[in-house]
């Protein structure tokens, strides 16, 4: 354990430190080591992104190839008038914001409650890792069948027994949206919990001791001492959780397929249907560009927040 377990990841430190003048032999050696890696990354990661942007200016319908050609901003014009796109964007915003907020709140809450070391802590920390290791498609299938099926699913059974009654978990629009948000939150809250627990354990003890004397209440200690100390950890968790939420596809596809209707259709699912079911690749690309800008924009904002913390 270092002084601060939650640290700005390697690359960020790299960006924050001043570069020294490279020497030729060292640079050549570095080029040899990094060359193949970079070529592969440029070819497999950067090139597809540039191609995606280019594709978004073309009409490319695999179902009707004769219409292939440059259309300029036509795809984007179409997107502006596409109600299903705006709906998907709304669902994406709602899904991302609520899952990240829930994970932060639950993760932080649980970590604070279990702040002091307790017997069996190592076992609990290991077991909560398990949801994160499961394939999201398995999580989607597990919830769709064993847990949320009306009458036979365990969660629904608990609702019936406790007098709350059976619910249309995945077949009614509002319930379905809540269900997929809870599924995602279930799978990834352990990440937030583990990061917050580790950062709490690594906080310097003096300010906390002083706080115990100065602060009148537990709330004051939390608000004025703990939360400010945890801000880098909170920013970091928010970044990674946002990236995962914007990547969501598997669990929703497996549990609802975006339905009922389009109730749980996030942008990723809509692009999937446009590009791979209806085979409108050009239009799908313009939707993909929107998702790309959204992801980069949000993470850039969160990184600014993190950087201002470090500096």
């Amino acid at each position: 354990m270092g002084v601060s377990p939650v640290r700005v990841t390697g690359l960020t430190t790299h960006l924050l430190t001043r570069a020294r003048r490279p020497r030729l032999a060292e640079a050549a050696f570095a080029g040899l080591l990094i060359g193949p890696d970079l070529v592969a990354i440029l070819a497999l990661s950067l090139f597809p992104l540039l191609a995606l942007c280019a594709l978004s200016f073309f009409s490319l319908d695999l179902a009707s190839p004769h219409r292939t050609g440059w259309v300029g901003l036509e795809n984007y014009r179409r997107l502006l008038n596409d109600g299903r796109f705006w709906h998907a964007l709304q669902i994406t915003a709602l899904y991302t914001f609520s899952t990240v907020a829930l994970q932060l709140a639950l993760g932080l809450g649980l970590a604070l409650l279990l702040f002091e070391r307790f017997p069996g802590e190592a076992i609990v920390r290991t077991l909560v890792l398990l949801p994160m290791i499961l394939a999201p498609v398995v999580v989607g299938l597990l919830w769709r069948t064993l847990l949320l099926t009306p009458r036979f699913g365990f969660v629904d059974y608990l609702f019936e027994v406790s007098g709350l009654g059976s619910r249309p978990w995945l077949s009614e629009p509002t319930y379905a949206l809540v269900s997929v948000i809870l599924m995602h939150t279930w799978q990834w809250t352990p990440f937030a919990f583990l990061v917050f627990l580790a950062s709490l354990h690594a906080l310097p003890t003096e300010p906390l001791e002083a706080a115990k004397i100065d602060c009148q209440s537990w709330w004051q200690e939390l608000w004025y001492i703990l939360l400010p100390l945890l801000r880098p950890a909170i920013a970091l968790v928010a970044i990674f959780r946002t990236v995962t939420a914007l990547n969501a596809f598997d669990a929703i596809y497996a549990a609802t397929g975006g339905g009922p209707g389009t109730a749980t259709e996030i942008l990723n699912l809509y692009v999937f249907y446009v590009a791979f079911v209806h085979l409108s690749v050009g239009y799908g690309a313009s939707l993909g560009v929107v998702q790309l800008l959204l992801a980069l924009g949000i993470t850039a904002l969160l990184f600014r927040f993190l950087r201002s913390e470090v500096a």
């Binding site: 570095a30 594709l55 847990l147 590009a275 992801a295």
Partner: protein, 273 residues
């Protein structure tokens, strides 16, 4: 004294709650895989029942589960090997060597790490279709590499950065060349990081579904797509589905339980040491 015992009761409650919410569903899936159809659909749910292997037998005999597992193993294994071969030296250079453009390149890596998989899939689909590489191992390996290579390089940077600078200085004093320093001094010190990167890359590819569903077909079909196909047959095949899920996820769960101390840091992408 009183406050202390209240605190302990509260903690016990919280721990129980955590275990019920996060562990019970997984245990329930495991239990269900050993239930016969009648026991699965009994209300209230039964905890005592005669365990049976019928679901496993049914899954293995009626669906090509073993072929799916083999496909996943080949794709995840090859992707992991390539990601390490390229990402470990790359990570070392980023972490420890000075070279021109290192800062913009590091920034590029950071930005690419944040890109949703969706950004890669459309152009790769067209490219692989053009190469006639959809529904092949090499197609799925390349697609998976687009996401995992950036992540593996990133992860290796964090591990190499943690090594003390005295190591290189000592190697230089002993007259080691740059290659010798990298291969015989630094790499052995970072072998834990290499192992974690290998496990996490493998797990990510093994669990991958989006690429698999778009790029696989009748010849190559990873286990994630195979599992999804179960319910399309028959909505009520819970037992065989859970048996397959146990076979597919069991090895990953075991590795996690054994290596959790090392994996936590990697799973949190270097955020927790």
């Amino acid at each position: 004294m009183r406050r202390r015992s209240v605190g302990q009761g509260l903690r016990l409650g919280v721990v129980t709650g955590i275990l019920v919410i996060w562990v019970f569903p997984i245990v329930w899936a495991l239990v269900t895989s050993f239930k016969d159809r009648r026991d699965i659909f009994t209300i209230p749910p039964v905890l005592l029942f005669t365990p049976t292997l019928d679901n496993y037998i049914l899954a293995l005999t009626t669906r090509p589960i073993l072929a799916h597992l083999r496909d996943s193993l080949i794709i995840a294994g090859l992707t992991t090997a390539l990601a390490l071969l390229l990402g470990v030296p790359g990570g070392y250079a980023f972490a420890r060597l000075r070279f021109p453009l290192s800062r913009p390149l590091a920034f590029l890596l950071l930005a690419l790490r944040m890109v949703p998989l969706l950004g890669f899939i459309l152009p790769l689909f067209l490219l692989l279709t053009w190469l006639r590489w959809t529904d092949t191992y090499q197609g799925l390996v390349l697609a998976n590499l687009s996401v995992t290579l950036v992540a593996a390089t990133w992860l290796m940077i964090t591990y190499f950065q943690d090594l003390p600078h005295e190591l290189e200085e000592a190697a230089a004093v002993d007259g080691a060349s740059r290659w010798q320093t990298f291969l015989w001094v630094m790499l052995p010190q970072a072998r834990g990081g290499v192992a974690v990167t290998a496990v996490l890359t493998f797990v990510a590819v093994w669990n991958e579904f989006f690429f698999a569903v778009v790029l696989s077909g009748s010849r190559v079909r990873p286990i994630t797509v195979g599992m999804y196909g179960f319910l399309q047959f028959d909505e009520s095949l819970w037992g065989p589905l859970m048996a397959t899920a146990v076979m597919a996820m069991g090895p990953l769960v075991l590795v996690t339980l054994l290596a959790q101390r090392h994996l936590v840091r990697g799973l949190t992408l270097g955020a927790v040491k």
